[in-house]
């Protein structure tokens, strides 16, 4: 600011009333607004980052093995458990009255506050509860004995106690006398046998059962086509009977083999003893993993941490979804998003192409455009209702009548399923793709179209060879947005095919291999289910965090790969421009 200017300002300021002094100056330059905007942005970022850190921290620490504390309480009871969380509270008068005077004085000195810890005590089949609060003043002594084990079981949740004996080959042996290496080997063998047993039951017996079911359906189909009791139906029934007899023999063979394995499996048993002395005997294979929680090395801890993650990612859920893995849900989320992209892309791009390139711009087209934009604002649950009513009941119902009458009243396509869920979400996200594609088409320079047309190309050739390739990155952006929106949506899915339990993947070894009519599991719904519907909401909470980490990760991964594809496309066409 030079001298003359400052002088002028001063004279102006003197001329005006005093209240419009420096404050007005700053306001006029817009500084407070810039600061406010910057602050708001920072707040937004801090909240997002904070949320992600919270989820990541809780998700990442869930699977870390914790030590087991054994507490002798003042009344002589012994409690063993993993510490879960602590809090401070004010014990009620009824509780305080029962305490020793010195304890009461200590609590009073602390403003009436005492602290307590929630322990996961496991052994649900013995205690009928999985968690227990223990107040600090109740505890007489805390120990961390090295021989306590934490065993994850196939049923009934974890067991906390001691490994008492192992029964192999008809003889019981004290667990203490078995070297660790042998125990690990025995457990490995038992698990392998159990996996083989499950393999026989699932795939081999499963295949036989599947064929028997097909024969039954074929008979039913013949009955529907020719009338029950007709010659054709009777002939088909006789054929089916001979085939089923053959299959039955095959089944019996497999069942005997399975029974043999099962007996072998049951012959290797362990006896576990809870801290209070209650014993449980179960097959060794029913222990998913077990470890001496207080005597485990750092590498051992890391191994358990990783194996828990691996189980979570690759296994099926157990115990009403609160344990085991979420593989079907990962697959379901992924398959649905993929189908959604396959369905939404052609629809969105073709609509946008027509609207932008062919349609005469007039009132009708603007009305359509406004409608498309409005469509993006319709609540997603409305799409769910539409999907259920139109896709599942009307469309699917008619498909069932036409192609699967033998299966009625059991619906095939006439209920929610992967296909209908994907189509419903495609409807939900199609406005995003249309708008993005239109923008991308509009951004292709007019000169390039004119150049192409001048060289004698037809309109379609111009669109195909000049316009579309250059609009591709923009179209991809639209698809990425649609994908992100679709993968995170849960409300409409609950109506059109997402279920709590559907361990059967939509892809398997039976003709026609891809079963789009099947219901499926979804990570978003899994979070809702484990968080709000599971029996033991305390045990469910950490699983909610882990599943959230997974869902966020999956969407992130899908977006990253879509962005990578878009960048490749951009580079490709950037080079060919001049």
């Amino acid at each position: 600011m030079n001298y003359v200017e400052r002088d002028a300002t001063r004279s102006l300021a003197e001329a005006l009333p005093r209240s419009r002094g420096r404050v007005t100056d700053i306001a006029a330059r817009g500084e407070p607004y810039t600061w406010a905007l910057g602050g708001a942005l920072a707040l937004g970022i801090v909240m997002i980052v904070g949320f992600l850190i919270l989820v990541l921290y809780n998700g990442a620490t869930t699977f870390i093995p914790k030590p087991i504390a054994v507490m002798t309480l003042a009344d002589g009871a012994v409690v063993a458990g993993e510490p879960f969380r602590s809090e401070s509270y004010r014990p009620g008068t009824a509780v305080l009255e029962k305490l020793a005077p010195e304890t009461r004085a200590r609590i009073a000195a602390n403003d009436g506050y005492a602290s307590r810890t929630l322990y996961r005590i496991g052994n649900y089949d013995i205690y009928n509860e999985d968690f227990r609060w223990v107040s600090d003043f109740e505890v007489a002594r805390i120990l961390y004995p090295a021989d306590l084990i934490y065993a994850e079981r196939l049923e009934w949740g974890p067991f906390i106690g001691r490994l008492k004996s192992v029964h192999v080959g008809g003889a019981a042996r004290e667990a203490a006398s078995i070297p660790e290496a042998e125990l690990v080997r025995l457990h490995g063998e038992a698990r392998a046998r159990w996996q083989r047993l499950r393999g026989i039951e699932r795939s081999e017996i499963g295949a036989v059962n599947h064929q028997i079911e097909r024969e039954r359906l074929a008979v039913r189909k013949a009955e529907i086509a020719h009338g029950a009791g007709s010659a054709e139906a009777r002939q088909r029934a006789a054929e089916a009977a001979t085939r089923i007899a053959g299959l039955q023999k095959e089944y019996d063979g497999l069942a005997t083999e399975a029974r043999r394995l099962r007996e072998e499996d049951r012959a290797v048993r362990v006896t576990l003893a809870a801290i209070g002395g209650e014993e449980k005997e179960l097959p060794l294979s029913a222990l998913v993993r077990f470890y001496p929680a207080n005597a485990i090395s750092l590498t051992g801890k890391a191994g358990i941490y990783l194996s828990r993650w691996w189980e979570f990612l690759s296994d099926e859920p157990r115990e009403a979804n609160t344990e085991g893995g979420v593989m079907p849900a990962i697959f379901g989320t992924f398959a649905m998003t993929l189908l959604l992209v396959i369905a939404v892309t052609p629809f969105g791009v073709i609509t946008a192409l027509y609207l932008r390139e062919y349609a005469r711009q007039g009132r009708l087209v603007s009305v359509i455009r406004i409608s498309v934009n409005n469509l993006a604002g319709v609540p997603s649950i409305v799409y769910g209702v539409f999907g259920l009513g139109f896709f599942a009941y009307v469309l699917g119902g008619s498909i069932d009548q036409l192609f699967y009458p033998e299966r009625l009243p059991n619906p095939t396509f006439g209920t929610g399923g992967l296909l209908w869920a994907s189509l419903t979400l495609a409807l939900l996200t199609v406005p995003v793709v249309i708008v993005a594609t239109e923008e991308a088409l509009a951004a292709v320079p007019r000169s390039m179209r004119e150049g192409s047309l001048a060289c004698g190309a037809s309109k379609w050739q111009t669109i195909r060879n000049i316009v579309l390739p250059r609009a591709m990155p923009g179209i991809m952006t639209g698809i990425i947005l649609a994908m992100a929106r679709g993968a995170g949506e849960v409300a409409p899915l609950m109506l059109v095919g997402v279920v709590k339990l559907a361990p059967e993947l939509p892809v398997d070894g039976f003709f026609p291999f891809v079963h789009l009519e099947r219901s499926f599991m979804h990570l978003g719904f899994h979070i809702f289910d484990v968080g709000f519907q599971s029996r033991n909401s305390e045990a469910g909470k950490p699983m909610v965090f882990v599943t959230t980490v997974l869902l966020v990760g999956l969407i992130f991964l899908m977006n990253i790969s879509a962005i990578a594809i878009r960048n490749r496309l951009k580079r490709k066409f950037a080079g060919s421009q001049f």
Binding site: G206, E319, A320, F532, Q533, E538
Partner: protein, 324 residues
């Protein structure tokens, strides 16, 4: 009440509870024996109270019949009858008996009534925060806490913990109410039995799931809420209840439920479309048998509910022609 009489009859014949407090099964229940040729798809739509139990049964059944596919959807008991009528589900788990109107609709479509399976016994619990010192509540008090119509006959509203006789810091604190949404059978049952068909207060915070109610009560020290006993966690406590003021209060235990002492005990039902003229297909028939078997009832224990007895199992199985 009818259910209490039945439960009483069933319980008087056998001792079901061990001294340790862990519930055990009726030893007379049959072991489940798998048969061959069972495969196909099953779908269950209905109660969310029964959601986990259906899942546990499904897991157990699938371990017997690996190629059976079972899908489970639980959005509330009221979703079961339409699904059975439309044929979109084979099983309709419900935490309350079907209403006459629902049975009529079913009958109009098929010409016969749906069959009910009594799969488990639930004690609906009134939960409070673990630090809450309240000892006992009568059903009339429960009504006055939750209802604005107070059909139970109490003359004044109960709005604070002081009204329930608590002292100290509790006396002046208002009671914060948690409950289920109206699609749920738990909501319907509670309205019928605990509210004597009255209306809920507007201040009841309706939750989307039974465990959401428990979590609500766990995080709010002055809260009260109701849901199935199976959802109890270490953070909440079930209040002992008495049917009439001044009577002895009964804990929400299996013992009390069987004896008919606990006023909010109920059966959990699974409804099935069984035609009286046609033979039941093996898939559904075996699933029903599985529910009544030792293995099936073990699932009930696992989910925190109370198992049924052999007497009830036999009664239901013979009614469906499944005894052999």
């Amino acid at each position: 009440m009818k259910i209490h009489a039945l439960l009483l009859a069933a319980a008087s014949s056998m001792a079901l509870i061990t001294a340790a407090g862990a519930q055990t099964l009726d030893p007379a229940l049959a072991d489940y024996k798998p048969v061959s040729g069972v495969s196909g798809n099953l779908k269950s739509i209905g109660s969310d109270t029964l959601n986990n139990l259906m899942t546990l049964w499904a897991e157990g059944f699938q371990s017997q019949y690996p190629n059976v596919k079972i899908e489970i959807e639980g959005k509330g008991s009221s979703t079961a009858p339409p699904a059975l009528i439309a044929g979109t589900a084979q099983f309709g788990p419900m935490s309350r008996p079907m209403k006459a109107a629902e049975i009529d609709q079913f009958e109009k479509k098929f010409g016969y009534k749906p069959s009910a399976i009594r799969g488990a016994v639930d004690a609906l619990a009134v939960f409070v925060h673990k630090d809450n010192p309240i000892k006992c509540m009568s059903m009339q008090q429960v009504d006055a806490v939750f209802s604005r119509t107070r059909k139970g006959g109490t003359d004044r509203d109960i709005a604070t913990w002081g009204d329930l006789g608590l002292t100290g810091e509790w006396a002046s604190r208002p009671i914060s109410l948690y409950g289920r949404n109206s699609a749920s059978g738990t909501y319907g049952y509670f309205k019928e039995v605990a509210l004597f068909n009255g209306d809920f207060k507007d201040s009841v915070k309706e939750q989307p799931g039974s465990s959401a109610v428990v979590q609500g009560v766990a995080s709010d020290k002055f809260a009260i809420g109701y849901s199935g006993i199976g959802y109890k966690t270490a953070d909440v406590r079930a209040v002992p209840l008495s049917a009439k003021p001044g009577e002895k209060c009964a804990e929400a235990t299996a013992e009390m439920a069987y004896a008919g002492e606990y006023p909010l005990a109920r059966f959990l039902y699974i409804y099935v479309n069984i035609s009286p003229t046609q033979k039941l297909d093996p898939l559904r028939g075996e699933f029903i048998k599985f529910i009544y078997s030792k293995q099936g009832q073990q699932g009930v224990l696992k989910d925190g509910y109370f198992p049924i007895t052999k007497a009830i199992a036999d009664e239901d199985l013979s009614a469906k022609g499944l005894m052999n």
